[in-house]
């Protein structure tokens, strides 16, 4: 169960090697988390991540999970919930893709959408239903500022996050009053391996800063979190900017 400050005792991380996800797990383990499930594609990196969390004192299990295989989600994730209550689910899987190449390779572009959006829809629905059955828990969905307004430079990724973001908000409304809290997190540029080698955007931040914002959001039961918080007014302005002007921005 979560305590009065929203600190969970059990965590299911979808995208078990995600840098943001693991930074959050470490932070939550420092508070109350004692049992962690790392769901992801089997790899030495996934096992290593589990080892690292065990060293911090959390009983940690790995679960084979592939966002691109939604048909398996109900069974794979169902087993996790059958073990016992999950207080917080963190949906952190996602791929950035390669916009320039994917524009030439529609199948690759579709995989970005399938991972981020379709996989997200299916996994979030499975988890949302299980949380509703428990009568408690938080579902934290890592969206992105890229979904707030699609940009020339990464609209394939951006549109997949826009879809996921809208879906998660709707799910949050559907689960309102069921004891379940859905939180959408919109980070800006985060320095992780996902963005490695790319030109840093203004207001770039770190995985730890996102983790801190997630922890605070759980405490306050916030519905939308921006990281850094100052991105919220910036994006509000960008959203209203006329198309011709927006097109010419070096984003």
């Amino acid at each position: 169960m979560k305590d009065a400050f929203g600190a969970p005792q059990t965590l299911l991380l979808l995208g078990g090697t995600s840098e943001i996800g693991l930074a959050t797990a470490r932070r939550l383990i420092a508070r109350r988390t004692r049992r962690v499930y790392l769901a992801g594609r089997p790899s030495p990196a996934l096992e290593q991540a589990a080892q690292d969390l065990r060293a911090l004192g959390a009983e940690t299990m790995t679960v084979a999970f592939d966002a691109l295989e939604p048909d398996t989600h109900e069974e794979v994730l169902g087993k996790v919930f059958a073990d016992g209550d999950i207080d917080t689910v963190l949906l952190a899987f996602g791929v950035l893709g390669d916009q320039a190449r994917d524009e030439q390779d529609p199948a690759a572009a579709a995989r970005v959408a399938q991972t981020n959006y379709t996989g997200g829809v299916s996994a979030a629905l499975v988890c949302g239903t299980a949380l509703q059955h428990q009568g408690h828990g938080s579902l934290v969905v890592l969206s992105s500022v890229a979904g707030e307004r699609a940009r020339r430079s990464n609209f394939i990724y951006g549109s997949s996050k826009a879809g996921l973001d809208a879906f998660a908000q709707g799910l949050g409304d559907a689960l309102h009053g069921c004891g379940v809290h859905v939180m959408v997190v919109r980070p800006g540029f985060v320095r992780t391996r996902m963005t490695e080698g790319r030109r840093e955007a203004p207001m770039a931040t770190t995985a730890d800063a996102v983790a801190e914002a997630v922890e605070a959001g759980l405490r306050r039961r916030t519905e939308v979190v921006w990281v850094p918080a100052a991105l919220r007014p910036v994006m509000a302005a960008l959203r209203l900017m006329p198309r011709p002007l927006f097109r010419r921005l070096p984003l």
Binding site: M1, D3, A4, R31, D85, Q134, G135, H136, C178
Partner: protein, 461 residues
């Protein structure tokens, strides 16, 4: 082969339920049994659902004790009959859903009072037993369960048992303070206190700081039936722990004036309007709360032998309905612990730390406990108990309270489960040495886990 029609779905939809502190709400099916049979049926059904049931009284526990995510919560206030009053020997037999408010209304005119009352009258007899509550008279009278002769308990195995401290001491003392986890209390027989009037005779004095306060309390608490001190944790420096002590007893008939003597047992609680629904966030800051505490410390009218209404003396907050809303959406936590005599240094350290952290805490309550009772998870033990309210949104509060837990556990003290919403499970075992016995007894009387609560899940009770 014919297919059976689906069972009619009569179960109510889950609704959010929270404790008095309004933190961590979870959804459960709220059922309101109107008879013992309905309560038994609801418990049976909950046992099959896999997520169990828990009894709930008036929801005055601060944390998650009367919540049960995904399962059933049995609102016991529908069972509120007073079955029998023995006005000669001072005994009442009543349903567990009867409130202490109602008992006072009915019993005071007959010259009887409840044996123990907490800081609010709006608790049920079931809640009073399950938390084994204490009052300002703990140093004289012990906790509530000491005055319970018998109770009717619906255990998880579906049996209804008459439980007395003589015949079934284990089940009785596991239930006293057992937070509803040994069964659903249906009715109880409670011993009462004879009184001649409905007024209190009260001595009020100020203490300049914590040491002065402790000295005054230790020196002459034994002369009063009721004793408590309101302490200002925001005052810094030399004034840390300045306090107002109020101590007294039920007023004898000859203390009343001629007019009051005509109806000496009249019960007249007052009630103020509730605070507005929408409270701006950030209303309670160190500054605003500090100013309130300052005002309150100065306005306290000291003196001895002053007559007060029962409600003014025992339940000042009950005059403001729903006062818990002033903490806004984020809710608040109450931290209450007890530290044994001889460990005053730890108490001083904790008070200093709370002050240094700047928790915007309204007046805290300090009191001396007398002997504890045998309840396995009963909170009181001989020593100093301090209780304070803090807005849950205060940054760093979780970590601060964890550190205070360490201080408390290190000297053999404990925190109060009826107020808790954030303790760590490993701390619980250190604070309550009979925890394993409690778990073993639960497994025996409730083999299929029909009874459970959010508190039980959080602390692996």
């Amino acid at each position: 082969m014919a297919v059976l029609p689906p069972a009619p779905d009569t179960a109510p939809a889950p609704t959010p339920v929270s404790g008095w502190g309004r933190t961590a709400p979870t959804a459960a099916r709220l059922l309101r049994p109107a008879s013992y049979e309905e309560a038994a049926a609801a418990l049976r059904e909950a046992a099959h659902s896999g997520r169990g049931a828990i009894a709930r009284g008036l929801g005055r526990a601060y944390g998650d004790a009367a919540q049960n995510a995904g399962g059933a919560v049995l609102d016991m206030t529908g069972l509120d009959r007073i079955h029998e009053i023995d006005a000669v020997n001072g005994l009442v037999v009543c349903d567990a859903g009867v409130s202490l408010h109602k008992l006072m209304q009915v019993l005071l005119p007959l010259g009887w009072f409840v044996p123990v009352t907490p800081g609010t009258r709006y608790v049920t007899v079931g809640g009073a037993i399950s938390a084994d509550i204490h009052g300002k008279n703990h140093h004289v009278s012990g906790s509530f369960s000491r005055h319970v002769r018998a109770l009717e308990l619906l255990t998880g195995d579906g049996e209804t048992r008459l439980v007395t401290p003589q015949d079934e001491p284990e089940l009785f003392w596991a239930t006293a303070g057992g937070m509803g986890l040994t069964g659903v209390i249906l009715a109880a027989t409670v011993e009462l206190l004879p009184v001649r009037t409905s007024l209190m005779r009260v001595d009020t004095e100020r203490a300049a700081d914590l040491d002065d306060l402790m000295a005054r309390l230790a020196a002459n608490d034994h002369r009063y039936r009721y004793s408590v001190a309101w302490i200002d944790l925001l005052a810094r420096g030399a004034r840390t722990g300045r306090a107002v002590l109020t101590r007294g007893d039920h007023a004898p008939l000859d203390a009343l004036g001629a007019a009051a003597r005509r109806d000496p047992l009249a019960f007249r609680p007052g009630r103020l309007p509730a605070p507005p629904r929408m409270i701006p966030e950030g209303l309670l800051t160190r500054r605003t709360v500090g100013a309130f505490n300052e005002f309150w410390y100065r306005k306290a009218r000291t003196g001895s032998g002053r007559l007060q209404r029962l409600s003014t003396f025992f339940h000042p907050l009950d005059g403001v309905p729903d006062w818990n809303r002033i903490y806004g959406r984020g809710g608040f936590v109450q931290y209450q612990f007890v530290i044994g005599y001889g460990h005053e240094e730890a108490l001083r350290r904790i008070v200093r730390r709370i002050g240094a952290h700047g928790c915007p805490s309204f007046l805290a309550v300090l009191k001396r406990f007398g002997d504890g009772d045998p309840g396995w998870l009963s909170f009181p033990m001989p020593g100093w108990t301090l209780a304070l309210d803090i807005p849950a949104a205060m940054p760093g509060l979780g970590a601060l309270l964890d550190e205070l837990d360490e201080e408390v556990a290190a000297v053999g003290g404990r925190v109060y489960l009826a107020k808790d919403s954030r303790l760590r499970p490993d701390m619980l075992a250190r604070m309550y040495p009979r925890l394993d016995d409690f778990r073993e007894l639960r497994a025996r009387y409730d083999p299929h886990g029909a009874l459970t609560s959010d508190l039980a899940r959080r602390l692996a009770l």
